[in-house]
Amino acid sequence: MADELERPITLSFDGGPIPAFVGDSVGAALARAGVRSWRTTRRTGRPRGLFCGIGICHDCLLTVDGSPNQRACLVPAVDGMELRSGTWAEHGGSGGSPPGLTQRVADD
């Protein structure tokens, strides 16, 4: 297992290769590659990437192997993983969990 850790792997980000290591989070791999943002906000279209880095803020959401709204700071990098950046509309509106609805339940 220890040999396996930190073995070089490659992720795909919007079609381009991102070098990474086993043991990286997706966010760490993107940051090491110099990628600073991977989605835009819903209202003002502002770029966002890592902020809290520990799963609290949800700024770093992206699509991982077709699964939307994944926190880049928490998802472990896996060789061949396909990462996709996007806008809020794509992330919130296409399949997967419906953020608006669950949040409204949470607020009530």
Partner: protein, 483 residues
């Protein structure tokens, strides 16, 4: 029907407090389920590269040997079937017992990946909650630009992955945590142009009682001073970031001297080119599970909402114990002691043999460490006039993109003077993070300068019936009960 995992004790969190609690409780004879959001034990404080557990590269981290001891104990207890450890798992709902004798139910979901593969719920006679905390944030113009990060996030990338998030950094806010972040960056080859500390470190010296109580901490402080000098990191007390500049990412910051209240001192502005800004204003403990358990809370010296516990780590709810930052921010060493004490109390309350000698020693050490934490909180307050840095366009709620102007309008024109009403009118804290990042700032802005924040201001924004975002399927299951 969903299967459940039945246990005498569930420990939530595998940071310093949770690791100590889980291992102590299991050794005392309780069956233990340990639930943790992390991929590996250690929490935020002992975050490390997965391959480095057996190496020496973390020797510089304080209490690393304590971590190695607890992690190896956990391994042994897992192998012996005495601790059921669930990493990368979050509690999204806590069902308190409906009547005495009933178990607490923890509903779980995976931290990442397919939400459909849900771990079984845990039913526990007792809970030790060790949720830890995260950096407290104050908004500043431009803080939503990529390249601006929570100080803890910068540290997490460094400790967990060996990644420096920029090349030229500034570290700003208040509190002793800014020091390891700055020196960690410098050690990784990042040029750290300044540490901006809004407080004055000399304030430590005015409260010697707390320092004398924890002499090793003083040595730690002196150690940082030497590193700052060697790394040529400029430490600027009574200084804050006034604005962060950039188009699509951080390009520069404007810093300013501030007075004791945090008001900018005219004519002291200075612009520095950076590509990384690390911000931290102390810590916010995670209180949602404590509130969901129905336990009482109070406002601590640092302005954070924390769990009320007795001298044995019991919360106000029978069978619910709390340890670590959630009882008051005090650092890893204190958290380990509290975790151990909470577990011994839980074992004692469950009728297992008590350890009065050990308990007494723990309580004495905890009292000393608390005195030190109090001195730190008094030396590093959130400056009362911090909102003087804001303009109406400054984003407060990053998720819903609510600005200072939106909040001021709700407050001044629509008459909302508490956080809850402001939230309903202007929507801060209603996005993905549920107010974890902007909650403190929103409460301050809602209350304006009219009064000091109390628990009634803070509790509504720490209460999150759903402790993590979940799918409709999870909610449907909840609505259907265990039928």
């Amino acid at each position: 029907m969903t299967e459940t995992l039945r246990t005498r004790l569930a420990v939530v969190g595998a940071g310093p407090a949770g690791l100590a609690a889980a291992t102590t409780a299991a050794r005392a004879g309780l069956s233990v389920v340990l639930v943790d959001a992390g991929e590996q034990p250690g929490g935020q404080y002992w975050r490390h590269r997965p391959s480095s557990t057996g190496r020496n590269e973390h020797r510089a981290y304080h209490d690393w040997r304590t971590f190695l001891r607890l992690a190896s104990e956990l391994d042994g207890l897992r192998d012996g079937g005495r601790v059921h450890y669930l990493p990368a798992t979050q509690v999204w709902f806590l069902d308190p017992p409906s009547r005495p004798g009933q178990p607490h139910v923890l509903r779980l979901s995976p931290v990442h990946g397919d939400a459909a593969t849900r771990p079984n719920p845990v039913e526990a006679d007792a809970l030790v909650l060790c949720p830890g905390g995260y950096d407290r944030q104050l908004p500043v113009p431009g803080w939503d630009l990529p390249g601006v990060m929570a100080a803890g996030g910068v540290q997490a990338l460094l400790k967990g992955h060996g990644v420096a998030a920029g090349r030229r950094a500034i570290v700003a806010g208040t509190g002793p945590f800014l020091l390891p972040v700055a020196t960690g960056l410098a050690a990784a080859g990042v040029e750290v142009v300044s540490i901006c500390e809004a407080g004055a470190p000399s304030a430590w010296l005015r409260r010697p009682a707390g320092l004398v109580a924890a002499p090793s901490k003083l040595v730690e402080g002196a150690g940082y001073a030497a590193v700052l000098l060697r790394r040529r990191i400029r430490y600027r007390p009574r200084t804050a970031i006034l604005r962060i500049h950039g188009r699509d990412a951080v390009e520069a910051v404007t810093i300013t001297r501030v007075d004791r209240q945090g008001r900018p001192v005219a004519g002291t502005e200075r612009r520095l080119t950076v590509d990384l800004v690390a911000l931290g204003w102390g810590f916010t403990p995670s209180l949602e599970l404590i509130i969901a358990a129905g336990a009482e809370t109070r406002v601590d010296l640092d302005g954070s909402l924390v769990a009320t516990v007795d001298d044995w780590q019991r919360s106000s709810r029978p069978g619910v114990y709390v340890a670590g930052e959630a009882t008051g921010v005090g650092g890893a060493r204190l958290a380990v002691l509290e975790g151990e004490l909470a577990a011994l109390t839980a074992a004692d309350d469950a009728g297992l043999p008590s350890m009065p000698g050990r308990t007494k020693r723990l309580r004495r050490t905890i009292r000393r460490a608390r005195a030190f934490a109090r001195a730190m909180h008094l030396a590093h307050p959130v400056p009362p006039a911090w909102s003087a840095w804001l303009d109406d366009e400054t984003t407060v709620c990053r998720c819903e993109e609510v600005t200072v102007g939106d909040i001021r309008q709700a407050r001044d024109e629509l008459g909302a003077d508490d956080q809850r009403t402001v939230k309903l009118l202007a929507r801060p804290g209603m996005g993905w993070c549920q107010g974890r990042v902007c909650g403190y700032a929103t409460a301050c802005l809602a209350a304006a300068s009219r009064r000091v924040l109390d628990a009634a201001d803070l509790r509504p924004l720490a209460a999150r019936p759903l402790a993590a975002p979940v799918s409709l399927g999870d909610l449907a299951d909840l609505a259907g009960g265990s039928a």
